[in-house]
Symmetry: C2
Amino acid sequence: MPKIVDHDQRRKELVETTWRVVARHGVSGATMRQIAEEAGFANGALKPYFATKAELLEATYSYVFAATETRIRRASRGKRGLAAVRALCREVLPVTPDLVSEARLVIAFWDGAARDTQDANMGARGLSSWCDVVAALLQQAQDDGEIRSGLDLPRLADVLLTHLYGTQVTAVLDPERFSADELMRQVDLFLELLLISPLGMTHTSAKSSG
Amino acid sequence: MPKIVDHDQRRKELVETTWRVVARHGVSGATMRQIAEEAGFANGALKPYFATKAELLEATYSYVFAATETRIRRASRGKRGLAAVRALCREVLPVTPDLVSEARLVIAFWDGAARDTQDANMGARGLSSWCDVVAALLQQAQDDGEIRSGLDLPRLADVLLTHLYGTQVTAVLDPERFSADELMRQVDLFLELLLISPLGMTHTSAKSSG
């Protein structure tokens, strides 16, 4: 009986292998040959799946973005407002070794996007959709009386997303100073600036569930 | 009479040429041959100045950081507190075509730093020193009564720097949405969150000089 090859599964394996190889050696250090070898493919056997390294990288970036979105959806399920914003941040901040590896890959993608309009457009669409999600959650937080009125929520959402993008860099440059705990404290500090009662005055902490 | 060669000047020319070539073609697209040609050097003549592309790139990054620091010092001369913070931000935000090119170079540096400990350390030192400068300026702003007390100023400085790093990416991914005006408005929005009187209430604008 001929072996049935699940081509989608093979593509997924190649993308996951690429993720690992790029995290280890960087985009410029990762070769098609190396990826093929590590994925258990003969050298030429990648071509039917991904004709060029650029195609393979693009699929890998898409995979990372999709994985992040899946994590965000799972983490924010059943949450609203600020709790949902915090859950989202916790999934985007590079707070685990795997997520720091992902940050390296994301920075490599940005480096490519700096010179490739198609990649830049893909990056811009992702950024824009996340800004919209955060703006909607901040609106919820305002509706629920968590944060004060009179705030420019869409622009604050852009600022928060820009900060999250910045943390991909700070965590890679200086993982001691910008540790997982510290990155989360930075987000909390930013969100505290939006609360009804100004910082430095007591305010009731977030209600526990119930 | 033999021609006197100013080696420091030659190194500076090579670095400036590298800056231009990398801004146009990216780090991976820039070759030693191309840089030599554009700088008016014979192909082998670079080697006494920079033995490898990595050395040349490192010198170019140092040059960009130094140029940014010079711009910041010039722009913030005679300013204190929030006015000095704004002046600093205006020099770091990618708000001109040249600064967007610099952002591309900075992203390429980060990509390298993600895999090279020495580059990461250089990046971490730069980041740390800028965080210290901003923290000191925020302290001035607090001393002058511009921003309220009870704020964690060193951490807020880290958040602002992280945001500035993030703008290098957002401006490159989506220059229409993250235009020069918009980037400055984002910084102003962040700084407004620190003012004595909360947003949405009237507050006196910054005093004019005099």
